[in-house]
Assembly symmetry: C2
Homo-oligomer: 143 residues x 2
Amino acid sequence: MIEQCTKYIKKKGLRLTKQRIKLVQEIAQMNQHFDVDLLISVMKKKKINISRATVYRTLPILQECGVIREVTQLDNKVYYENNYNKKHHDHMICLNCGRIIEFFDNDIERLQDKICAKSCFKPEKHRLIIYGLCEDCGGGKND
Amino acid sequence: MIEQCTKYIKKKGLRLTKQRIKLVQEIAQMNQHFDVDLLISVMKKKKINISRATVYRTLPILQECGVIREVTQLDNKVYYENNYNKKHHDHMICLNCGRIIEFFDNDIERLQDKICAKSCFKPEKHRLIIYGLCEDCGGGKND
DNA sequence: ATTTTTATTGAGAATGAATCTCAAATGCAA
DNA sequence: TTGCATTTGAGATTCATTCTCAATAAAAAT
Ligand SMILES: [Mn+2]
Ligand SMILES: [Mn+2]
Ligand SMILES: [Zn+2]
Ligand SMILES: [Zn+2]
């Protein structure tokens, strides 16, 4: 992940700063969805100095570079997830407890391509979120 | 649409105010996606007085009632669409011109239910947005 | 119709996420 | 090491949304 970012940053003529390196190192260890506040608090705990503005400025770079991906949760805030060495997937979100379930369905993906082709639309990315109740919150048994 | 809202408002023990009625009447005539600013400017043009706060307070009620539905566009702002007498559908959004294409694919919907069942997840609603290039912006011919 | 009760409204203040500003710091190439 | 453009940090700013609270008005009670 660090190498991929380093390469991207150099290719773009950007500078490999301490802050960017440290931030990527932190994100590489993240295995849940995260937002700016989480990154800042984690780094503060580890005594790594980085300003909020720099975090906000760096995340879009890492997204272009492809190592992270924007995800949506219940509120309308921006969250990210690690996209490095991880296959594409979509999400189910429990409206009761907030639990996030990741899933991938190849048939759904293929049908999306098919319906795009029908509209002469060239898909670049998509976002599918299913909201409902997870097993623990009453999903399983009902109906 | 007005009747559905009236019924819901009364059932909930809420009050049928001038502002709520006027707002629903406006929304009933909307045929594209809209946000708070659009509603306010349209109503101001028609000399209908309603405060920004009241619009913000009313929209969640109309959403619960089922006559409107929250949709996402490119920015992270909240938009709505009329959901009355309109079948469920999802969206393709052109990253170049912002054009919004509505689509519905029954197979995708069924596959969603299937994968939810597999996780014992009870779906209530979902949001599928495909981002890419529309026909006019280079979608059709490419690849 | 009048009064009483209580939800709703409007105007503006407050909040909170995200962006911007600009002087100081620093990466990097010469 | 020097020079220079990029980046950073701290705080100001923006912008959408929510909150506050006194005034208003809907609905119920009389
Ligand atoms: Mn995920
Ligand atoms: Mn639509
Ligand atoms: Zn749950
Ligand atoms: Zn387009």
